[in-house]
Amino acid sequence: MTQPESALEAARKSADPSLGDLWFRYFALGGASSTLEVEAYRHGALIPTVEDQDLLAVALNERFSELGGDHPLPDSDDADAADG
């Protein structure tokens, strides 16, 4: 089982949205952290709350979908996530 932080980091590298794009997606989903905090989450300098972690995962997954990919990032309470 991959750790959420490293999965988030790996997904970030492969989808590589700009900080502005990621933040706007996260904010559109209801996120309340600043761009600086989101940048810190991306680099592992700050640990996001479970809610923020989930919102960032959704933001990245939605970007993956737009690029024609799957949803590689699990939701914190989604037991089926590992199965795809």
């Binding site: 706007f24 559109a28 989903l29 959704v58 949803h71 939701d75 989604d78």
Partner: protein, 138 residues
């Protein structure tokens, strides 16, 4: 250059348009006269280019403002839709906001639909209610 000469152009003075130390374009001045641009012409072109750069920079800032404005408007609409859908789920299933948010994320993911789109369908699933104040409804 041959083509320029054929068009009757014999001198070109090109001055960069700089914004925040980055070139964003060039001011090109053409002349039919050979060796038309001496130091004083170059100086005047540079003066004009620096003023033009300011206008270009202002225009670019305006474009950026407009983009941010559009993104924010879109994001706020999405937030409101998601928040309303959470409210609908809270009412329908008697669950907390956190549980409603998790349910919305999970369902959108299973439906392979962006969350704000899924939120729209949740809101649409809620039948409209008539609220009467100050009197009993039958």
């Amino acid at each position: 250059m041959k083509r320029a000469t054929a068009e009757g152009i014999n001198s070109v003075l090109s001055t960069p348009l700089m914004v925040a130390a980055r070139p964003v374009g060039a001011l090109n001045i053409y002349s039919k006269v050979v060796h038309s641009f001496g130091p004083s012409e170059q100086e005047r072109a540079a003066w004009f280019a620096s003023r033009s750069s300011t206008i270009v920079a202002d225009t670019q800032t305006g474009d950026a403002d407009e983009t941010v404005h559009a993104q924010l408007t879109e994001a706020l609409k999405s937030r409101e839709t998601i928040s309303r859908a959470e409210g609908v789920l809270m009412g329908q299933r008697a669950i907390t906001r956190d549980a409603a948010a998790a349910e919305l994320r999970r369902s959108a993911r299973r439906a392979d639909t962006p969350m704000h789109e899924y939120a729209c369908t949740v809101i649409a699933s809620e039948p409209p209610r008539t609220v009467r104040l100050g009197q009993d409804s039958p």
